[in-house]
């Protein structure tokens, strides 16, 4: 067990996984100018939210719920792109690290989960998103702890993971509480605004005009 270097494998696998996902999504999404601009702006918005408030309010960030809502309104691909780019961009300003690929995967999954909610419960509103975002606050911490555990403890035992998770659980609950509060306060309007732009973006050109 001590001989196998899981930290190396999981970090490199994360890099390749996120690169492959982005490439595949890009090839299949057929992004037009409007989609590209909108995704970029939303990612910048989320990254700004993550950086500005992340420093001041510790882990209370008005960001994760917006990524979820983006997936909810614009679909899985837009949600994934906005989610994956949020940590990438904010880390350009607050510092890159080996944790970036796994953060990108986690945030991308947040966006895709929003789309999954829309797919499974077409009538769901912002209240469902509150629950999802609250859950993601903990799930995100658990997945990042998994990375931390693989890289820095050996031999890999469940107890080791449990202790690392326990060391971070207070931060995780802060994050979950932040998601809950922000989604409750801002979720309804955000969905409204994004829906408005979703309609506005959906342009169909008439042939032979």
């Amino acid at each position: 067990m001590t001989g196998t270097n899981w930290g190396l494998y999981i970090t490199i696998a994360g890099v390749f996984f996120v690169a492959l996902l982005m490439l595949l999504m890009e090839k299949r999404a057929g992004l037009g100018a409007r989609q590209v601009a909108l995704i970029a702006i939303l990612a910048a918005f989320c990254a700004a939210g993550r950086t500005v408030t992340g420093v001041a309010l510790l882990f209370l960030q008005p960001t994760m719920f917006l990524v979820g809502i983006t997936g909810f309104v614009f679909g899985a691909r837009a949600g994934f792109f906005v989610g994956a780019m949020t940590p990438l961009i904010s880390n350009l300003f607050i510092g890159m690290g080996p944790w970036t690929p796994w953060q990108m995967i986690c945030w991308g999954l947040v966006g895709m989960s929003g789309a999954a909610v829309r797919f499974l419960f077409p009538r769901a509103g912002y209240k469902t998103m509150i629950i999802i975002c609250f859950g993601w606050g903990f799930l995100y911490g658990a997945v990042m702890d998994l990375w931390h555990w693989c890289v820095f403890t050996r031999p890999l035992t469940f107890n080791g993971y449990f202790l690392i998770w326990a060391a971070g659980v207070s931060f995780d609950s802060l994050r979950a509480a932040g998601n809950l509060l922000f989604c409750a306060a801002l979720g309804r309007q955000s969905i409204k605004i994004l829906n408005y732009f979703h309609k506005k973006m959906d342009v169909r050109y008439l042939e032979n005009l």
Partner: protein, 309 residues
Amino acid sequence: MLEKLYYQDKGLFLQSFHPATVLLYLLVLLVLSLLYDHPLYLLCLLFLLACLVKGTEGMAVWEGFLKIGLIMMLVLMVVNPLVIRSGATIIWQGPVVPLLGRLDISLEAIYFGLVSGLRLLVILSIFCLYNLMVNPDQALNLFARAAGKSALMVALATRMFPTMVRDLKRIKEVMELRGVDFEQGPLGQRVKKYAGLYNVLLFSSLEGSLEIAESMQARAYGSGRRTVYSRHLLRPRDYMTLGGSLLAMFAAVWGLAQGCGGFNFYPVMDDLIAGRGTLVVLVIVFCYLFVPLMLGGGYKYCRYIKSKI
């Protein structure tokens, strides 16, 4: 702080490499830091990184990284001995705790915590160096051929990021001039005021995105096949560094296959220097890894080398 990127172009030699070269070099360093368990090798890596950081005039930045690293290192050193039972030299017998079992602290587990803390410092330094050496625009340019739209989105978002922070301040100022006092009132009212600010920012930036899309379309975005070009050439310095890092990687893998650079912690630790082979491989690997620094020295002090690389 958020007005500019983490990376600063200082016109240094170490910043003049092709981005692909730097990425490969740093990747080799990262792989080595994860492959090696030997404390001596990890210490040498840290020394190499310190020299490189000094070469990029990033000592102040590095200090910030080291502070975070030391805190995380402390956590590792506490967690590790508590959960690992494989060490043979027990130095403290603790009570039985539910879920975790008996808390025995062994010398080997403490050492392992120390070494993985060292590895953490090395990894953090590699990324610190990445932030100091690689221009993100150029790194993005590497991926433009394979994933053009993703690269474009990242570039756009990076460009919009400071604008967004500035817009936030501007909108807040406008609202304050209109009589909204963000600091006054009970919490519920304050949240409402901030929610207003958030809505305006979200709405106006999304409006802005439609304008960007129109101007992209006006500049013929998506009207045909994309063309790609690169202005960055691979120079002799890049070839030498690339060669050095590949050779270092081969030497390190060969050394590991011969048992140099590995280190057993459990049940009893190996000797720090097991034989002459350990030192020989160490010197060979680090000779190759020091290539960019040697080139930097030559560039600074020797006019002939400067003209050739």
